[in-house]
Subunit: 182 residues, 2 copies
DNA sequence: ACCTGAACACCGTTCAAGT
DNA sequence: ACCTGAACACCGTTCAAGT
């Protein structure tokens, strides 16, 4: 059977993630040393499990991201592409509104970790939406997933007062920019 | 006549700004203590003149911003509004390409300092461009300067490899989103 | 009035020593 | 193998003491 040490390590890892989640929920802050202390582990242990801050954040949000990603093909199955993209934007907005503080706190670290140049799962979801619209001729052919992620990145820079008037409204503007012009 | 001390203070101020400019040019970095040292003043002196980092950066870029702002009415005088906006975007792109490192280094601090909620001079320039297009019916009526500044904020998040393929191209996408739909 | 720079605070990161 | 936490590095910011 697996050595007992392995179980220790796994449990530590989970405690670190839980502590990070709690810290973020409490104050949108991601202070690595504080998280290690909350988790009851040494700082070095945190670094062993998560070499970079983004590694930790990616783990914290993995589940949420999975949901967002899984939504794309489902929306595409039931809607025309542009509509699916619009609805997916809605979900992104809902999610970003809740997690906005985090995004700001980590300086787009999450987006970078989840999208980056290698695109990642979020990028795959966007790619699928774009491809469907492109095939249909309703989404312009000269944009890719990274373009869309860059354009909607303003969501991370909205504070509370600005959210309501601008977040969804600007997603509509972006969507219009992505459409083919009649 | 003014006390000699005043001259000292003014000269210090200028040396700080010059040191900041040099530091940014050399490495895109804005380390306050290092700038104070380069300028040959104590850290406290830097803080006396520029209470916040943004105060310092705003001063460093004041001239550049003035040029960008002044261009808006000139472009409007010679071009239809949408064209003027497109050309102004070009200038923003040119400027952002050179200063991009700075923007990234200060985490959108410059934009925030120069635009913020109070909008600022850049916001006024954008407002003029939007108003002209709105009057003509070619720019949608439901966007304001802050919206545009948020949308083009992705420029601060592009690195060197991404600049060429995406910067100008995405400005075109944004512009299409701002147009009224036919 | 204005300036200096030591000192403090804070956070990230490493690594020698332990188990 | 894995963990601990002291120690180091780095920067921003303040403030008592000087001129």
């Amino acid at each position: 059977m697996a050595s007992p040490r392995r179980a220790d390590a796994l449990e530590n890892r989970e405690r670190i993630v839980a502590a990070a989640r709690a810290a973020i929920a409490a104050s949108d802050e991601v202070k690595l040393n504080a998280i290690a202390k909350d988790a009851g582990v040494g700082q070095g242990t945190l670094y062993r499990h998560f070499p970079t801050r983004e590694d930790l954040l990616a783990e914290v949000y993995r589940g949420d991201v999975d949901v967002l990603v899984a939504a794309a093909p489902m929306l595409l199955a039931d809607n025309p592409p542009v509509e699916a993209l619009a609805l997916w934007f809605e979900r992104v907005a809902d999610y970003a509104q809740i997690k906005r503080g985090v995004f700001a706190a980590v300086e787009a670290g999450v987006w970078r970790a989840l999208s980056a140049h290698s695109i990642g799962p979020i990028g795959d979801a966007v790619s699928a939406l774009l491809a469907a619209g492109r095939a249909e001729g309703t989404i312009r052919a000269d944009v890719d997933a990274r373009d869309v992620i860059l354009l909607i990145g303003y969501l991370t820079r909205l504070d509370d007062e600005e959210w309501e008037p601008r977040a969804r409204h600007l997603l509509g503007v972006v969507l219009d920019g992505l459409r083919t012009r009649s």
